[in-house]
């Protein structure tokens, strides 16, 4: 008992895992996803970086080093993964704008630009140059969001502070979901007589209905409105996670929360089941194939020991970027950290190289040579490899 047959088990509830899961579930496979905790996607800005090295992200991709996993995915699949993502997010009421042909900017809380590709509709109006004049709204007591950083960098910017009775991003977003609060807030805004062409907010304009709230403020004020990503707790990151998760479930996927994988059952070249610690009888889930999408270090897929790096689920061989001295550059902002290359080397079928397993596929941040920070390719790479790994997995279990 306690063992139920699945076609595929996905390990990890991040962008890659949920994407791969949704594709398989949509095709009618019986998919379960197990998660130890919530993914690092919740900590992200919610923006989808494909490759930030060039104004044309796909052009940027073609200039990445040969070992980069993007080269295992065709341009067509990258495009398809982006289109599919936009389509599914729109269905979940959390629209994205942008195209894989051009990168765009979002304004950061420091007043600098961050290069990305797709942005939530709530960030669509972010300025793309120094020209736009902005009025920034902040909230009393909100930590780590100081508009003076922005006004110090931009000429035509000023700000006002609103006392919302909450001082955390989560508390503010919850307030914005209440109609009475939103009404009161908008009438306060109207009295400010804002002259600037655009109004900027920290990204706290609701959780479930951010798109509608942004629109409502735009209509009432007759001004373009956009959100500026905050450090975690990041509402756009959570909205992204919620939408991906709900989409996966809508397609028929099942999620097991509080299910850290602690062991595997195997015969020869096949993984039969994964197990999870339990105070009582063993918890076990079996499947025909497994997709490893457990993320890198912060996500919990990889653990760095003093001299080596290990993969935590299947104990797959890990690319370790030389001696520990090479893991980190002395200048943090150079982003030339060897550790960014650590991960699992995969072949063109997204199976781990130099491992025996026929039915294990790998996608997302745990893959080697991604260098996510340096290349600005986090979520985009997760989408593309999620698609590719799911396709390869389907070919196997057919």
């Amino acid at each position: 008992m306690g063992v139920i047959q699945h076609d595929v088990i996905i390990i990890g509830a991040g962008v890659a895992g949920l994407t791969a899961g949704a594709i398989l579930a949509e095709k009618g496979y019986n998919v379960a996803l197990v998660a130890k905790g919530e993914p690092t996607a919740c900590l992200s800005t919610g923006c989808i970086d494909i490759c930030s090295l060039d104004h044309d992200p796909l052009h940027g991709v073609s200039h990445l080093p040969d070992e980069h996993p993007y080269h295992l995915v065709s341009r067509a699949v990258i495009r398809e993964s982006i289109e599919k993502f936009k389509e599914s997010m729109a269905q979940m009421g959390f629209s994205y704008i942008g195209s894989p042909e051009t990168n765009r900017y979002v304004l950061s809380a420091l007043g600098t630009f961050k290069t990305t590709c797709l942005v939530p509709s709530t960030m669509a109006a972010a300025p793309q140059d120094e020209k736009d004049d902005l009025h920034i709204i902040t909230f009393s007591g909100l930590k780590d969001f100081y508009p003076s950083y922005i006004t110090a960098r931009r000429k035509n910017a000023s700000f006002s502070t609103y006392d919302a009775g909450a001082s955390t991003t989560m508390g503010l977003a919850t307030n914005f979901e209440r109609e009475d609060f939103l009404e009161k807030f908008i009438s306060w805004l109207e009295k400010l007589n804002i002259r600037e062409g655009k109004i900027a907010f920290p990204a706290v304009l609701g959780l479930e209905s951010a798109g509608m709230i942004t629109k409502k403020i735009e209509e009432r004020l007759g001004r373009k409105v956009f959100e500026i990503p905050t450090i975690p707790p990041s509402m756009p990151g959570r909205r992204l996670f919620n939408a991906l998760k709900d989409y996966f479930r809508k397609k028929g996927g099942m999620i097991y929360w509080s299910w850290p994988v602690s062991g595997v059952e195997k015969t020869k070249k096949i993984i039969e089941a994964v197990t999870s610690p339990s105070e009582g009888r063993p918890k076990s889930l079996n499947a025909k194939a497994f997709i490893l999408a457990s993320g890198s270090f912060v996500g919990g897929g990889l653990t760095a020991r003093r001299d080596t790096i290990v993969e935590n689920i299947f104990n797959l061989p890990v690319l370790v970027p030389g001696q520990r001295d090479n893991w980190f550059d002395s200048d943090y902002f150079s982003l030339n950290h060897g550790i960014g290359k650590a991960g699992i080397i995969v072949d063109s079928s997204f199976r781990p190289k130099e491992a025996d397993w026929e039915n294990v596929f790998v996608c997302g941040g745990i893959i080697a040579h991604t260098d996510v920070l340096k290349n600005g390719c986090g979520h985009g790479m997760a989408l593309a490899t999620g698609h590719a790994a799911a396709a390869s997995c389907m070919g196997y279990i057919k």
Binding site: M1, I4, E38, P232, P233, N242, W257, S258, S276, V298
Partner: protein
């Protein structure tokens, strides 16, 4: 195990905390848990009364990517605080909810009448108990008065029905018995007490342990005689599976956890083993399946959802991001009323947006809250299964 050092301060737990969303007095699981733990010294009296604002929904534990269990750290702090400070009347009453309910049930006609009058409500308020949703109605005929049917079935279960079913909704309990009997499963009702969770939630470790030891001894006898234990209330379940071996340190806990199942998990198992092939008949309902926080925390997936998928005609949508806010006795305390009402109202407004006709939840307290605030019928999954199979609570 307390492993607060593993916290990397990512705040994912904070994003998941329902209380933090609506109550600015609660600093959130990160600060109340791992952050504050550094300053909690064995020899010093605890001063952080805000730990009592935590509802123990366990969402922070489930969210943490680093294996820190903020809710467990806070639970221990709550017990310490409870031990070192005078308890309020409401805390004492709810810790002893079992006796309170037993009394209410014994005097059901009178007790229900009193609870619904103005004076009754005044008494409740004076004791620090809220009445924004009606106090559940006591049932005069509890599960304990059920007669055992003789059976020669191979599968045998001891049914841990829990206080809610026993004192307030024994009709659901009876339906579950009929359901299992229709599956050719022998059902017994072992001698049982409150699981201990309300006492833990009200900072009263001693009472919780007292109940837990009595239950463990009783259930253990049945396990020795070849019975599996099943629970239907997911909070009782979490207490048996998680707190008995954990904070309550019950010596028989291992045996209990190895042989205890969620009702729907058990039914799925019977189907999986080919022991039964239930012929589900169409149920034309559109429901929202509200996942109780403690079902999610059990880490067994959502077994009832698997059964719902087998019922023709049933349309259901799973909601597992919204805590109903009541959390057993938590929301019945005056100090938590506002938190509970805000969370409940939000959950109800999301449910209403779907156009569903009914709410379904495994947990009686979730049903009370969501049903009470929405005016919709809130059903137990077992009620829907019974509807589909034509089973009633009458023999």
């Amino acid at each position: 195990m307390i492993n607060f050092e593993h916290c990397i301060r990512c705040t994912i737990c904070v994003e998941n905390c329902p209380v933090f969303r609506v109550n600015p007095d609660f600093p959130g699981p990160k600060q109340a848990g791992p952050d504050a733990q550094r300053f909690r010294m064995e020899k010093e009296k605890s001063v952080d009364n805000w730990v009592l604002l935590c509802s123990q929904c366990k969402r922070c534990n489930m969210a943490c990517p680093c294996g820190v269990d903020p809710a467990e750290i806070i639970l221990q702090a709550q017990q310490r605080y409870g031990l070192q400070h005078p308890r309020t009347l409401a805390h004492l009453l709810f810790a002893n909810n079992y006796y309170l309910s037993a009394l209410g049930s014994l005097t059901a006609p009178v007790a229900n009448k009193v609870a619904s009058t103005k004076i009754g409500k005044k008494i409740f308020h004076a004791m620090g108990i809220t009445t924004y949703i009606p106090f559940p109605k006591f049932s005069f005929k509890t599960m304990k008065s059920e007669k055992k049917k003789k059976s020669k079935a191979i599968k045998k279960v001891a049914f841990f029905y829990g206080c809610f079913i026993n004192f307030y909704r024994p009709d659901i309990g009876r339906k579950i018995i009929r359901l299992l009997e229709s599956f050719d499963v022998d059902v017994v009702l072992p001698e049982q007490w409150c699981c201990g969770l309300p006492a833990l939630g009200n900072g009263n470790l001693a009472i919780a342990r007292y109940f837990a030891q009595k239950n463990a001894a009783s259930l253990s006898n049945y396990i020795d005689a070849g019975y599996d234990v099943i629970y239907t209330c997911t909070s009782c379940g979490l207490c048996l599976m998680h707190d008995y071996p954990g904070i309550l340190e019950i010596s028989l806990a291992k045996k209990i956890t190895e042989n205890t199942y969620d009702l729907h998990e058990y039914i799925i198992g019977l189907i999986d083993d080919g022991y039964i092939e239930p012929q589900f008949v169409e149920v034309k309902r559109k429901i929202v399946y509200h996942i109780p926080c403690h079902l999610r925390a059990l880490g067994i997936g959502y077994p009832a959802a698997k059964i719902m998928a087998m019922i023709p005609g049933l349309e259901y949508e799973i909601f597992d991001d919204t805590c109903c806010g009541l959390n057993g006795s938590y929301g019945f305390k005056k100090t938590n009323e506002e938190t509970a009402v805000q969370l409940g109202t939000r959950a109800v407004s999301l449910i209403k947006k779907t156009g569903a006709e009914n709410i379904m939840a495994d947990c009686g307290s979730c049903r009370m809250q969501l049903g009470g605030l929405s005016g919709m019928d809130a059903l137990d999954p077992a009620e829907i299964i019974c509807e589909s199979l034509g089973i009633t609570d009458e023999k």
